[in-house]
Symmetry: D2
Subunit: 144 residues, 4 copies
């Protein structure tokens, strides 16, 4: 992952660097945690973008459920990234419950976006980001 | 202030008005839902304020767990208010999972703030807001 | 203001209480600041609701500009409320620039919502909330 | 991870893909816009992490101004990324005013973090992220 994370200026790069410089950090940031933070940040911005792209489609009326799930998923991934990024005295129950909500939102949004994936490329990409985030949430929940 | 706030005297006034004007709205906004949205908005801004007040206390080192829970609770209440406010094609599983996460965060933050309530008035008020929000979340979960 | 703020559980109530219990607080929270925080919180949740209500309207295609401005205004009011709520060592330039952005967003969103106010009650209420917030931002900028 | 990230190896990969699939997109996403969205997302999560790392430092009392600016900068970068990501009928004045606020916050936060950069690696990395974001904001403002 080093070459991915290195001096590319990617979101992933600084998150990894930051976690490793935290006064509470152990030998290194947990790989599953880091992957989940990255996936949440990616999924959140992808969902903001998909909601917005759907809004500009001619048949926007047929995409209301998709826009709605995009918005919820964007908001929930956003806060999950923040909760997971903080390393100072985390509460295990709070962490687990928000990751569980994130997993639920990502699965539902992926399922909805997948319905339109063959017609709209933004929904295909968004389903991919949601599925990746759901998988990363499962990784964190399994390890917790 | 009356003219700013409308005839309820609270920020919640506009939320209630808005819910009742939604094209999908039934005879009227559900009272438990409205109470929960109000409580989430109140708890979120109270937690932002409590984290900030703790940060200015002389013995801030002893308040790290409190600040941390305030931040998580603020973020989670914020997104819960947004998810509950939206009335267009909600997904019941997503709604339930975020309200569950909100309930968990509010209970934990209330418990932590209560420890310092006799020493710091901001923690006493914040525990009150968290407890009220936890109760409102229970109301929504019981009805769902 | 006591009866407005008292035991109604309104957002406004706890924000005022919290500001007055902050270790850095002077004799009392500044009235213009408090009014602006309240107006930002109200406007943010009203805009979330208006975007969502527009999305459920039959002629949603004609409301894309309105939804877009609702979303931007909701996000910007939200962060403005947070920045203004924090009392620990504020940076005057940061405060001023975000309140300026909030004023701009509120004016634009009010203007757009006003175009549909006679047809859709949610747009009428939202324009009202945006105008109130713009006025409160002007109050803070004039005092800064 | 290559398949998740696309051919840039960064979270930014999906943002770029999404912008290019938007129904309103021209020949391709504007490079300055994309760079600014990426920089805002990176800076926002880096600031969340820096505030949290500062909170766990022994001499947290000396870091209150830094934590405060980290929080404001995180919130403002977050909303700026959202506003810039949306491509449906943007309002040029709203865009310009939030990018201006973001530039102000990034410059101030970079200056504060730089003071502690030799002592705390997380502040050094955060100053770097803030400076990169400030530069990207300047790029967008110059092009607007």
């Amino acid at each position: 992952m080093a070459e991915v994370m290195g001096n590319t200026g990617s979101v992933a790069g600084h998150v990894g660097q930051m976690l490793s410089t935290h006064p509470m950090a152990g030998k290194g940031a947990d790989a599953k945690l880091l992957r989940c933070i990255e996936a949440c940040l990616d999924c959140s911005s992808t969902c903001v973008s998909c909601a917005d792209a759907c809004l500009s489609e001619k048949e926007v009326q047929k995409l209301v459920a998709c826009i709605r799930l995009n918005q919820d998923c964007a908001n929930i991934c956003d806060v999950t990234a923040k909760v997971l990024t903080r390393q100072s005295m985390p509460d295990a129950d709070v962490v687990r419950s928000i990751v569980q909500a994130c997993l639920t939102a990502c699965r539902k949004c992926a399922a909805e976006c997948s319905k339109h994936a063959s017609m709209m490329e933004h929904c295909r990409v968004c389903a991919e980001a949601c599925n990746a985030c759901a998988k990363a949430c499962e990784g964190v929940l399994a390890a917790a």
